[in-house]
Symmetry: C2
Subunit: 292 residues, 2 copies
Amino acid sequence: MVEQLGLIGCGLIGGSFSLALKKAKLVKRVVGYSKSPSTTERAKQLGAIDVAAPSALLAVSGADLVLIAVPVSASEATFKAIRHGISDGTLVMDVGSTKGDVIEAARRGLQEQFGCFVPAHPIAGKEVSGIEHAEAGLFKGRQVVLTPVKATRRSLVQTATRTWTAVGADVIQMTHEDHDSAFAAVSHLPHLIAFAFINGIAGQENGDRFLRLAGPGFRDFSRIAASDPAVWRDILLANREQVLAQARSFREALESLELMVATGDAQGLENAIESARRVRAQWQSGGATAAD
Amino acid sequence: MVEQLGLIGCGLIGGSFSLALKKAKLVKRVVGYSKSPSTTERAKQLGAIDVAAPSALLAVSGADLVLIAVPVSASEATFKAIRHGISDGTLVMDVGSTKGDVIEAARRGLQEQFGCFVPAHPIAGKEVSGIEHAEAGLFKGRQVVLTPVKATRRSLVQTATRTWTAVGADVIQMTHEDHDSAFAAVSHLPHLIAFAFINGIAGQENGDRFLRLAGPGFRDFSRIAASDPAVWRDILLANREQVLAQARSFREALESLELMVATGDAQGLENAIESARRVRAQWQSGGATAAD
C-alpha cells in the first residue's frame, strides 16, 4: 500500500498511473504537481489527484512513491527540484521513452539520492495526450521495462515491480543500453521514417494531389507521423546515437531493395520481400493487448 | 445492363466485382476463367460466376464486358490469349495497381482491339486475398482511377464510368503517368520502406529481441510489410522508374532529418516534425470509407 503518491506531471501517463493505483485501492493519497495550474485543477476534478501542490518539491514531500511523468527534456530540472524532498525509502520512477539520458539526468539531479531512482518505461500510450484521456486500465496487459543500474536499490526495484504488476502490467528488466537500442529500432526509427516519408511527398509539386489518392495502407503506415513534435524532437535527440545507428541499418536495407528494383532482379526482390513478410506475419507484441 | 461478363482471374477483386454487379442486378451471366480449376470451381460455388470456362478465350467469347483481374505480370499473356474473342463493342478493363506497363502490354497483346481497353485501378483491397474474401460491397465508397489513352474509345470510357459508379465507386480520370507517379509515392514507396524496415531489424543480432518489445505504433506502421511477395515484386518492377524517383525523394528527406538529429538542431527538427504532423493530421483519403 502506498501512503502517498507524489505525481509530477498530470498528463495521460501520470494521470492513468494514479487512477490505476486508486482503482486497485493501493494508494491512500495522491499529491500532484503540473507546470500548468489548470492541468492540476483538471486532474483534481477528474479524481486523478487528491491535492494540488504549488511546487514539485511540495508534491514529493512525505511521499513514499514518486512518479515523474514529464517530457524527457524536463527530467533533470525535475530531479533537481525534488531532491531535498526525497528520503532514503522513497521510490522514484520516471516513464520516459529513453533511459540512458534520463539515468544521467537523475544521477546529476538526485545526487546522493540517486539510488532511490528506478528507471521505468511503460510501453503504453495513445495518439492523444492530456489528463482528459487518462484511464485506469491504460497499463493492463502492457509491458513495463525497468532499467536499474548498479547504484539502484534492489528493494526499490522489487517495490517498482510489484506496483506495476498490481496495475496489470508485465514487468521486464534489461540494461538501459539494450532498452535504448531496441526502442531506437522498433519505435524511434519508424517515427523518423514516417516524418521523412510525409515530408518527402509534401515537398513535391504534386504532393497534395498524390495524398488525396492514398488509401488504407498509407493511413496505417503514416499514422505515427501525426505524433507530438516536441515529444519526438526530445526522444530523437535524447537517443540520437542509437537512432542514427538504426537509420543507417535501415538505409542499407532500403538501398539493397532499390538496387534489385533498378536492375530488375525479380528473384532477389521476391526473396527479400518474402523475408520481411514472414517476420512481420509471425510478429506478436510481447504485450497481451498490444497486438489488438 | 451487361449481357455477359467475361471474368479472367477469380480472386478477391475479380470475384468482388462480379458479386457487386450481380447484387446490383446489372449482369445476366458471368463466365469465369482462372489458371487454377479449383479457384474457378470455388468461385462458382460462391455464386461469383455462373459458368466456368476452360480457357481465357472461351471466357470472353460473346462477352460485352471483360474484366482482367490477374497479377500484373500475367497481363500481356492474358491480352494475347483473349484478343480473338474481343469484338468492337466489347469493353475490356483491368484492375492493376500500375498503369503504364499494363497499357503497353494491352497495346502489344490486343493489337487492333487496343481501343476496347479502358485501364482501371480500383483502390480497394484487403490484407487477405482469394475468392473466399470476395464481397459485393468491396468498391463502395472507394476510388476507381481510369487512365484512358488517345486510342481508347470514348464511349467505352463512359460505359466503364457508369459500371464502376453502379457498384458504389467514385470514378476519377487521370493520365497513366500521373497515376503511376502518385501511387509510387503513396503506395509503392511505403511498401518498399516497410519491407526494408523489417529486414533492417531482422538482420541484426538482437533483432528478434527488439521486435518482441514493439508496440501499437510498430504494428500499424509495419502492417503492409506482410503483403504478398509476388504481387509486390511485380508492382515494384512494373513501376520501377517512379518508385526509384520517390525513394530518392524520401531518402533526401530522411537524410535531412538525420543531419538535424546528428547536429542536435532541435528547432529544425521540431519544425520538420511539425510540418509532417500537420500534413498527416489534415489528411483525408479521397474515398469516403478509406479513412475509416
